[in-house]
């Protein structure tokens, strides 16, 4: 909320500069975004009276004037404004003056005639029409009022002020008002808050003879106050009022509307004025809208209503959206003769819902949403009526309608000084607590340690002892809070199991040169569709977000693969030679729900690589080494996900259960993801790894007998899979086989086009004796026989 400091100063002296004031307010809990000097744009501009105004001898539009600025000889100034004439009061930029945009006024000659300054328009001074109605850029700003010649124009226009931009906390709607902020200011600056005395001067007549008010929806409108003003004299607001409204960022409209806005800003109570002659039957009804009703708000827009919204109606139809915006028809115009002021309180939630649904947010709706005190409404109404009298804008009819069926009790809290202080961790003396609460306008009665605290009417946020702690502490000073470490019973603490597993995976992958990435958890459904999954694949069921930012972030991901592919593509397209990436990614399954009906969340691990010498086998080695590191042995089988190259994809199985699927990305999928290079992706499931991982157990004894190595080259058809072949040979060789490796693949014309020769190396060792040549030969024969069963023969 923006407020000129002078306005606040009328009710609580500030006595310090803007910077200091800002800091003091922040430290007692009133956020400040910043402050702005209103008249920063110019200096050296004074009030002058045009004494004479003659045509310029050498120009058809310039005037040569003499101007009295109250001191010395009148100045000769050349002026081009069409509305320049003798006798007017205007702003005069004297020699040496600065104008907005950095223009400096110098003595000069215009078509041969000397000119000692400049007569200014509103535009040239940066003064908007709302602040000072004038002819705008077409001519000079002419003062309507009588000001002393030579007076600085800044105070006249209210531009010698600083506007504070307060960031009012959500629990302090009372501070969305000048009075609220002035109360805080008095506490912050150690001065006194003084509210103006409010008296209403009533003319003859009785409000009940002018209007009837019925509140049908008491639950949504706990209080409705109405007063009537007759002989309304709509006109321009005085300068002081326009200044304050301008400083607060509002436009001046006319005296009556300005009063409602001024009172809203000053007291925090939104007000509304109705042209009573336009209110059908002079009957106001506050009720819920019926479905199909329609309303035209004063911005000229029509809103069909779905029913249930709180509306203010006349005898025939809804005319206002309660607390949000008035109706076009009953708007105050210069022809208004009789009007009704409304000062009411509307339900927070109801206002919020209607304002959201219809997409209308106003100063008024914002205040009702945050909460307006029902107890202080009468004060606001009376303040408005007082101003009607003071500005001579009409005659206030006697009497008031106040529909307030269920008056709110004063909020009373009993509290202990000791407990208030204990919560803060600061030894605030009881006397100090009492003093602070009184300073904040709480009623306090003390009996020893116990306080009976009456909450002031404007504070809706204070309901218990904890709130009093905060009040005491913020004024006593948050700086007084000491720092103490935790005491009491100790707790073991530490990382969660899931986190330790992820850390362990990260350590292994980082050692292998992988970089961790983080992708958004929501994706475009199209990115998953691009994978070309079969129709019944569960990953096509994605959890939709009801109000997404856009299509590309509209569903929760069911697989980490599209995100990985996009990241790989980005790196390729940025010209990065290679990348090895991993992501520990949560995925969401909307079909299988938890006991709480939440979608199942699983943590996946996705690896992606491209560039350099990377191929399918590099990635498979990484995946296997990762799994082996957790004690999970796997067998590799060809086949797997459809988005992989059909000849270059596999699954790793542990006891028949798939623990990893991996492959080279299918060229078609690569195209869809705009990936110019081959890339390799593997997916694992961290929850599954957690379930399958084996503790390391005891170490094996060091071998005591020597090992013997035998190599073997086998020729076999190209289609024979080496993985299963090696497994078979391993199994056949018996337990003296310690290790078996493939170390070469050889193809040649001599072997034949559809043949390959694979070289293996076998390491044998006896656990309790040195192996004999005979034992080794027997084992070799067994594994060779097994190999022959798969169509492999010893290479000649």
């Amino acid at each position: 909320m923006k407020v000129p400091m002078k306005w606040i100063g009328e009710y609580a002296p500030i006595l310090t500069d803007a910077e200091n004031y800002m800091n003091k307010m922040i430290m007692i809990g009133n956020g400040v975004e910043g402050y702005e000097d209103l008249g920063g744009g110019f200096s050296g501009v004074v009030v002058g009276k045009v004494l004479t105004c003659e045509a310029h001898p050498d120009s058809d539009h310039l005037h040569v004037t003499t101007v009295d600025i109250g001191s010395g000889e009148p100045l000769q100034i050349v002026c081009g404004a069409p509305n320049c004439e003798a006798g007017i009061l205007v702003p005069v930029a004297t020699v040496g003056a600065c104008l907005p945009g950095g223009v400096k006024i110098k003595k000069g000659k215009l078509r041969g005639v000397e000119s000692c300054g400049m007569l200014c328009s509103s535009d040239e001074l940066g003064v908007p029409v709302e602040l000072y109605p004038s002819v705008g850029s077409a001519g000079l700003l002419i003062f309507h009022e009588d000001y002393p010649l030579g007076a600085d124009v800044k105070p006249i226009l209210g531009l010698d002020d600083t506007v504070m931009d307060f960031e009012v906390l959500a629990n302090r709607p009372d501070c969305l008002s000048v009075w609220g902020l002035a109360r805080e200011t008095a506490v912050a600056c150690g001065t006194e808050f003084k509210k103006p005395e409010i008296t209403v001067t009533e003319a003859d007549g009785d409000v009940h003879d002018y209007v009837r008010v019925d509140v049908e929806a008491n639950d949504l409108c706990p209080r409705y106050i109405a007063r009537v003003v007759k002989n309304v004299r709509v006109g321009e607001s005085p300068m002081w009022l326009r200044k304050y409204l301008y400083g607060a960022g509002m436009r001046s409209i006319n005296n009556v509307v300005d009063i409602t806005n001024f009172v809203m800003l000053e007291t925090g109570h939104p007000m509304h004025a109705f042209d009573l002659d336009k209110v059908d039957g002079r009957h106001i009804i506050v009720r819920r809208a019926e479905a199909g009703e329609q309303i035209t708000t004063l911005d000229g827009k029509e809103h069909p209503l779905s029913g249930g919204q709180l509306v203010i109606c006349d005898a025939k139809k809804p005319s206002c959206l309660a607390g949000i915006m008035g109706g076009e028809e009953s708007e105050i115009t210069e022809n208004t003769r009789t009007m009704m002021f409304e000062c009411a309180v509307f339900d927070r939630a109801s206002t919020r819902v209607t304002s959201r649904t219809l997409g209308i947010r106003t100063e008024s709706s914002g205040r009702f949403e945050k909460g307006v005190s029902v107890k202080t409404a009468m004060e606001a109404m009376n303040r408005a009526c007082q101003m009607i009298h003071e500005l001579d804008a009409g005659d206030v009819v006697g009497g008031v309608i106040d529909i307030y069926p269920d008056p709110e009790e004063k909020q009373v809290i009993t509290a202990s000084c000791e407990r208030i202080a204990k919560r803060t961790g600061v030894d605030i003396p009881a006397d100090e607590i009492v003093r602070i609460l009184k300073q904040l306008h709480f009623g306090v009665e003390r009996e020893g340690d116990m306080l009976t605290v009456t909450v002031p009417d404007f504070r809706q946020d204070v309901t218990g002892e904890a709130d009093l702690s905060e009040e005491a502490l913020r004024v006593y000073g948050y700086d007084h809070i000491p720092g103490t470490l935790l005491r009491g019973e100790t707790t073991p603490g530490g990382r969660s199991e899931a986190m330790r597993l992820k850390d362990s995976v990260s350590r292994k992958l980082c050692g292998l040169g992988f970089r961790e990435i983080m992708n958004f958890s929501f994706v475009s459904p199209k990115s998953v569709e691009k994978l070309g999954l079969p129709e019944n694949d569960e990953r096509l069921n994605m959890l939709p977000i009801r109000n997404p930012l856009g299509e590309d972030t509209s569903v929760m991901r069911s697989t980490p693969v599209p995100g990985m592919l996009s990241t790989l593509a980005l790196n390729m397209n940025h010209g990065n030679e290679k990348a090895s990436l991993y992501e520990a990614a949560g995925v969401f399954d909307p079909i299988h729900r938890t006991e709480e009906n939440l979608p199942t969340e699983t943590r996946k691990l996705c690896l992606g690589m491209y560039g350099g010498k990377v191929d399918f086998f590099t990635l498979r080695a990484v995946a296997e080494s990762l799994l082996t590191g957790f004690g999970i042995d796997t067998e590799c089988e060809a086949g797997g996900e459809v988005y992989y190259h059909p000849g270059r994809r596999a699954v790793l199985k542990h006891n028949g259960e798939i623990v990893c699927s991996l492959g080279e990305i299918h060229p078609e999928v690569r195209e869809k993801f705009d990936m110019p290079q081959r890339a390799y992706v593997a997916e694992l499931d961290l929850n599954q790894i957690a379930a399958l991982k084996q503790p390391m157990g005891a170490v094996k004894p060091m071998p005591r007998y020597p090992a013997v190595t035998r190599d073997l080259s086998l020729v076999m058809p190209e289609t024979t899979q080496v993985g299963p072949l090696l497994s078979l040979m391993r199994g056949a060789a018996g337990k003296i086989l310690e290790d078996a490796k493939m170390f070469d693949v050889y193809r040649s014309a001599a072997l034949g086009a559809d043949k390959k020769s694979i070289a293996f190396s076998f390491v044998f060792r006896g656990a309790d004796h040195t192996l004999t040549e005979d034992e080794i030969t027997k084992a070799m024969n067994k594994l060779l026989k097994a190999a022959e069963g798969m169509g492999a023969v010893i290479r000649a």
Binding site: I26, G31, L169, A170, N171, A349, V353, E369, K370, R423, V426, G464, E465, E470, L473, R474, Y478, D479, I481, P482, G483, T484, L485, L486, R487, G488, T491, P492, G493, S496, A498, M499, S506, C510, G511, L512, G513, R515, E516, I517, M518, N519, F520, S521, L543, I545, R546, N547, L549, T553, M556, N571, H574, K578, S580, G586, T594, E596, L598, E601
Partner: protein, 342 residues
């Protein structure tokens, strides 16, 4: 010719040859020629048979002395030659050690993970336990139990992603706090790190997905000073010696009193600079005493127990620490960015 003349003759040959021998190979040959089975000195020994028995002992002694002396001469030369040869070999094997090398690819964790781990280490050291929870969360835990009822301005549709009326993408990790309080008895000391979601368009300083770490302590006699002490310890650990906290009054529905917490600007150590806009402080986190209503709603008696809670945005810490100019870099996965982290 007498025995000693013969020996002297051989000594002369040996001395001359030793002069000449340039390699250990030549030296070996010389050793064989003099001392070998068919060597010259050995021949003298064999020739002893022709001597009279009286002459033999003396001759034998002379030959043995010569053998020892010759061996010593050869060994001495051998040591010299070996040293020379080694020196030459070392010279030959010298390489240009300044030649550029290929580094093995270095992996690394995401900057958010780096920051998160450091913070977790700090808090687990103070006895906090890490607790995690679902990202797609019930409105009940995310809002209602945090004292943010339906239609409260703090849960504007613009801020929260909804799945349906009852399920949201968690907007903070506070629902984990609620779940923890409901399932455990004090003393509770937990930290809740994780992803959170707000409906903000992505730009240099906003992201619809970001990370938070919240902390919660519930025990008897917990107060604001304990919160400050804990956060002071955190500030020193993460930002270094001399970094401390400033508390400013604030408001959160789930804490009372509430505070914004500023840390001494690490760039200028509080003197005031561009980073902190001259104030000497950087706004880092929020916290406060757990609202008694929140405790009660989560099944903890506020008459007996009190608690504090705080929440820290990890992106902000990472961006400050590594001077990351644009939040988007964290979610792009460009290796030119990631490879810089160690």
């Amino acid at each position: 010719m007498g025995m000693s003349e013969r020996i002297n003759e051989i000594r002369t040959i040996l001395t001359n040859e030793l002069e000449q021998a340039e390699t250990t190979q030549l030296l070996d040959n010389l050793r064989v020629r003099i001392l070998g089975k068919k060597g010259e000195l050995t021949a003298l020994l064999r020739g002893m048979g022709q001597l009279s028995p009286e002459e033999r002992p003396q001759a034998g002694q002379l030959i043995n002395e010569a053998r020892e002396s010759f061996t010593a001469m050869l060994d001495e030369k051998l040591a010299v030659l070996k040293a020379k040869e080694r020196e030459e070999a070392l010279k030959r094997e010298a390489i240009d050690v300044t030649q550029p090398v290929d580094l093995p690819a270095e992996g690394g964790e995401h900057p958010i993970t780096l920051v998160m781990n450091e913070m977790i280490d700090c808090f687990t050291g103070m006895g906090f336990e890490v607790v995690e929870g679902p990202e797609v969360e019930l409105d009940h835990y995310n809002f209602e139990l945090m004292n943010i009822p339906k239609n409260h301005p703090a849960r504007d549709a613009q801020d929260t992603f909804y799945i349906d009326d009852n399920i949201v993408l968690r907007t903070h990790t506070s629902p984990i706090q609620a779940r923890t309080m409901l399932s455990r008895k004090p003393p509770i000391r937990v930290i809740c790190p994780g992803r959170v979601y707000r409906a903000d368009e992505m730009d240099a300083t906003h992201s619809p997905v970001f990370h938070q770490m919240e902390g919660l302590v519930v025990d008897k006699d917990v107060n604001m000073a304990d919160l400050r002490g804990t956060l002071n310890a955190f500030a020193e650990r993460i930002y270094g010696k001399g970094i401390t906290t400033r508390f400013r009054p604030s408001f959160f529905p789930f804490t009372e009193p509430s505070t914004e917490v500023d840390l001494t600007c690490a760039a200028c150590h509080g003197k005031g600079c561009r980073v902190c806009k001259g104030t000497g402080w950087i706004e880092v986190l929020g916290g406060g005493m757990v609202n008694p209503k929140v405790l009660a709603d989560c099944g903890i008696d506020p008459e007996i127990y009190s608690g504090f809670a705080f929440g820290i945005g990890l992106e902000r810490i990472a961006m400050q620490r590594y001077s990351i100019p644009d939040l988007r870099l964290l979610y792009e996965g460009d290796v030119r960015f990631l490879n810089q982290f160690r």
